[in-house]
């Protein structure tokens, strides 16, 4: 039996499969490993960031700083490697440390100063974007043999598709993220805090360290997404990835995670990313549609999903009332 808390995920998956089938009926070419490989590569940085966002939303919070942190990371990396000649690995390590610290700092402010996540990460968004501008307002190209090697690395699918390093990185992040959420104590604590922070605290959940951990994770993954973006575009640009946090939130919500926290799956976010990628691919295949249709369809989907979630809450409340009746009927 499908437990009602997995219902949003199952629905999303169903929508994706049906939508994909419809697309393939119209453009049989869309059923190729090439298309799938590109879809994964094109959305790799967004997917990585969306995993962090999933944890944040599961805990009942929000992280608006993601897009800015990605931009900061990419400019920072590009300048370090492209202009200053630092080895990419050192640059990567440095940005991951910075973005993780940045996330932890936001988490600590949320927890220990009691400022709402929305406000703290909004400030973080401006701060990171400002820091990116400070480094450079130009698009900084980047080239290094190691980066070329990463960009050139891929597995070939039968049928000509390519599973690139970026796509593999994203898949690995989703896989690890799913394990952390579903099978570790940290993950369980995230769900607990999302359910009710007060109850979680009284049940002995270390709310402080978990909250800091969640935003640190989101910061780390934003940094990683920034690296992926740099590799994807071979450059760093401080004006890039504006509003990516909203795309990430959309992927999370379409993936069935409740915005109020406590309910959702990392796998759902993956399907959310796939759906967004599918819409983009369809528009490319069609060739006549404006790319803004992506936004419109995502907007419609978001509405559908929020209504759906309402419906599920209503349905499970009714189920609760019914089960209460049958339970007490059995008792008497």
């Amino acid at each position: 039996m499908i437990h009602s808390r997995n219902l949003p995920f199952v629905t999303t998956l169903g929508i994706f499969v049906v939508a994909y089938a419809l697309c393939v009926m119209q453009f049989p070419n869309m059923l190729s490993t090439r298309v799938i490989g590109n879809l994964l590569t094109d959305n790799a940085f967004l997917g990585i960031a969306a995993v962090g966002m999933t944890f944040v939303i599961l805990s009942g919070g929000i992280d608006l700083s993601i897009g800015s942190v990605i931009a900061f990371t990419s400019v920072f990396t590009a300048v370090m490697v492209g202009s200053l000649g630092v080895h990419p690995l050192i640059a990567f390590a440095a940005v991951l440390v910075i973005s993780t610290l940045f996330g932890s700092l936001m988490g600590a402010m949320i927890r220990y100063l009691g400022i709402p996540p929305f406000v703290v990460t909004l400030a973080g968004m401006f701060l990171a974007r400002g820091a990116a501008y400070l480094i450079s307002t130009e698009s900084v190209p980047i080239s290094h043999e190691m980066i070329d090697a990463i960009q050139g690395f891929y597995f070939r699918f039968p049928g000509g598709g390519r599973l690139t390093a970026l796509a593999m990185l994203m898949l690995a992040v989703f896989l690890i993220g799913a394990f952390v959420a579903g099978r570790t104590r940290f993950g369980a604590n995230v769900y607990a805090i999302g359910g009710s922070q007060q109850s979680a605290e009284l049940m002995g959940v270390p709310v402080g360290s978990t909250t800091v951990g969640i935003y640190a994770l989101s910061g780390f993954l934003s940094g990683l997404a920034g690296i992926a973006y740099t590799l994807y575009t071979s450059s760093g640009y401080s004006l890039a990835t504006v509003g990516v946090e909203l795309d990430a939130i959309a992927a999370v919500v379409i993936g069935g995670t409740l915005l109020t926290g406590g309910v959702g799956l990392v796998a759902g976010t993956f399907v959310g990313i796939l759906i967004q990628g599918l819409i983009q691919t369809y528009i490319v295949f069609d060739g006549t549609l404006s790319s803004w249709w992506t936004k419109i369809v995502i907007g419609v989907l978001l509405f559908v999903f929020i209504v759906l979630q309402r419906g599920i809450i209503w349905y499970s409340n009714r189920k609760l009332a019914e089960s209460r009746l049958t339970a007490s009927a059995q008792k008497s």
Partner: protein, 509 residues
């Protein structure tokens, strides 16, 4: 220094909140292998003491020792690590997690660093079977009734408590059978040498299960006594600091007047809902108190839901003043002058950051419509009068309600409905969690309101309370109205008998 024999010892515990002294120099000692009741009026400081002992609050003064070693748990996790398991008054665990996840949150069995779900499920089932609970532990906690959730919370705390188990009003939503089950588990734990602290307002339960009692009043220690040597009346006066005035029944006279105004303006005929409550007739006269008795799950709350339009009836009619009405929603019921104070008001009814006055004025405001705001002067006057008549403490109408003790919050919610001055007020377990002094006040208040012409439907598991306030009592069993008792036949024994005989009849069928 501490007494080496005691399991848990606290000396001179003091705590104040924003200038209000909640605890003042309280000493408390828990021995191994004892069940220790912690009693006191609403707001006496019981929950605060518990929270200090278990690391939720930090204390301002005093020291505590566990097993002779001085300890200062800084949070719940530390207290749990020390072997102290607690069920707090306001916690109902996490509804978005499964039963098993709730039971093992923070201490999940792991294999290779990953949570072992199968092991967790197995252990959860084993744990709950000790309480006679055989449920799907992978279902969400929210899919179970309050009573089941309460048992899960208790099972978790018991399992966590290596040394000390603390239960803050654990029995408030359990039926008699479940309470018995809990007490037998507690007795077993006592034999194992655990120290158990239990807070409750049911004195019967205190005498049934506890060995010693510590009484607090206004944040101060009144004393610690052996229950075997403490008569009930003395215990009550320890708690109240005065004798309890007995509620005198003046029903005989009233019954005449009620009976003489023969026509009942509020009538439910053949009213029922399939799968919920079998069709029943209920005619309510002004000034009448109709009691509803029955075991948990007999359809008491469901009856209330029907009367207040939370559930829609699928048979029968409702009339008010010979006018047919449709109770399709609580709003419709409120418009017809009905009020309903639900059983789960503790969790559902309160808006924590609002002041006591705002919380009281809420239903009245809703009834008047939001376009006609209640002036702050009216609001204050309203709050003042209820704070006085229900003895809400501290008597500060502007304090956010979340800072009040559990029982005082309940009084404020009761005041909210009384303030709407409904013609029919439905009270589901109106005195749960309310101390014995306030209990008497509330019963008195009910009598006064009825004298003014309000009708009441009171649902209660305390038969003594029902027979004291109700003019007639409807007995429910297995979702049917099986008997109606009034006049001389209205006694607790007869109610018990009505429940028992109908149960027997079913068994015979």
């Amino acid at each position: 220094m501490s007494d080496k024999n005691s399991l848990l010892e606290a000396r001179g515990i003091g705590k104040s909140f924003l200038g209000i002294t909640a605890l003042d120099g309280v000493d408390f000692t828990l021995e191994r292998g004892e069940i220790h009741a912690l009693l006191g009026e609403n707001g006496a400081g019981k929950s605060t003491l518990i929270k200090i002992l278990t690391g939720v609050y930090s204390r301002d003064h005093g020291n505590m020792w566990l097993d002779g070693a001085e300890v200062t748990p800084a949070n719940v996790a530390e207290a749990q690590a020390l072997g102290i398991g607690t069920v707090y008054q306001e916690v109902n665990l996490l509804e978005n997690l499964t039963v098993a996840e709730n039971l093992f949150l923070g201490r999940q069995p792991r294999r290779f660093g990953l949570i072992d779900r199968r092991e967790m499920r197995r252990r959860s089932q084993a744990l709950l079977s000790r309480y006679g609970l055989d449920i799907d532990v992978d279902a969400l906690l929210s899919s179970y009734s309050v009573a089941v959730r309460q048992i899960v919370a208790i099972a978790r705390a018991v399992d966590l408590s290596g040394k000390v188990l603390v239960l803050d009003e654990p029995t408030a939503s359990l039926d008699a059978h479940e309470v018995e089950m809990l007490f037998s588990v507690l007795s077993k734990l006592r034999e194992d040498g655990l120290g158990i602290i239990i807070i409750t307002h049911f004195l019967n339960q205190v005498y049934a299960v506890a060995d010693r009692v510590t009484v607090l009043r206004n944040g101060r220690l009144v004393g610690t006594k052996k229950l075997a040597e403490l008569p009930r009346l003395e215990l009550i006066s320890m708690m109240l600091g005065r004798e309890l005035q007995h509620i005198t029944r003046e029903h005989q006279a009233q019954e005449e007047t009620v009976a003489s105004t023969a026509e009942a303006p509020i009538r439910f005929s053949g009213y029922g809902k399939r799968g919920s409550v079998a069709p029943f007739d209920l005619h309510i006269r002004p000034g009448e108190v109709v009691g509803v008795a029955g075991l948990l799950g007999s359809g008491r709350t469901e009856t209330a839901f029907l009367l207040f339009g939370i559930d829609r009836a699928d048979s029968g009619t409702a009339t008010v003043d010979d006018r047919n009405i449709t109770l399709s929603s609580p709003e419709a019921a409120i418009t017809n002058g009905f009020g309903f104070c639900p059983e789960e008001r503790k969790t559902d009814g309160i808006i924590g950051d609002f002041s006591v006055a705002d919380n009281i004025a809420l239903a009245l405001q809703a009834r008047q419509g939001w376009s006609k705001p209640i002036s702050s002067r009216e609001k204050a006057a309203l709050a003042e009068s209820f704070i006085k008549s229900l003895d809400i403490r501290p008597a500060d109408a502007e304090r956010p309600i979340k800072f009040l003790s559990g029982g005082n919050q309940q009084k404020a919610i009761l005041a909210r409905w009384l303030a709407t001055n409904p013609r029919l007020l439905i009270l589901d377990e109106p005195t749960r969690g309310i101390d014995i002094g306030a209990h008497a006040e509330i019963l008195k208040m009910i009598e006064r309101l009825c004298a003014e012409g309000m009708s009441l439907v009171v649902i209660s598991s305390e038969l003594e309370e029902l027979t004291a306030v109700a003019h007639r009592v409807i007995v429910l069993s297995d979702r049917r109205h099986v008997a109606e008792l009034s006049g001389d036949r209205l006694t607790a024994d007869n109610i018990m008998q009505a429940i028992a005989s109908s149960a027997r009849m079913e068994a015979a069928e």
